[in-house]
Symmetry: C2
Subunit: 116 residues, 2 copies
Amino acid sequence: MPPSLPVPPYWTVIFSTQRSPAEQGYAEMAERMMRLASVQPGFLGVESSRDENGFGITVSYWDSVEAIATWRHHAEHMVAQRFGCEAWYQAFSLKVARVERAHDFPNLTDDEPGPG
Amino acid sequence: MPPSLPVPPYWTVIFSTQRSPAEQGYAEMAERMMRLASVQPGFLGVESSRDENGFGITVSYWDSVEAIATWRHHAEHMVAQRFGCEAWYQAFSLKVARVERAHDFPNLTDDEPGPG
């Protein structure tokens, strides 16, 4: 389920990855990074999906760019980033974006009028 | 694979959905919407992943908020949106965000210096 989030604006990191066949502790790392991220200052939530071809998208939400920068430079996270390039991922893309509008269903906590 | 995109800034729509068990033409609609979106003015690219539990994230990229608004109000797309709420999705969240920074691997088209 999508995480419950405050009214925008807030920040997001969109992390798309194509897994390589190598396992080598990937699952443990992914779980540990998720747990570590969730206790960082400014963390708001995360959602993630990976399909049967190994293509995945993880979207994390943060209250500021500073919180994202701090997480990016977290020592243990940097080790995972480095190893990710070398072993776990064939390709990835990472985007930092500012969320301006959000709405959801069935929560209906729209922050904007609907169409029409 | 993540789509090839211009240097930021540009805009993104993050669409997270939990599928319901109902099929009822979902695959055809999803494919048709992907095809329709890709020929809209201002469309830059899309990436999508859905896991074995039916949770999916689709991230589309656009050159302006106006392009997103136009696509949102596209007649055929509005029918799909309406039917999505009623049949295909148990839950969804939709976020519009402005991408400020992007980098990728192995393309190494970073628009910012790396850490350290």
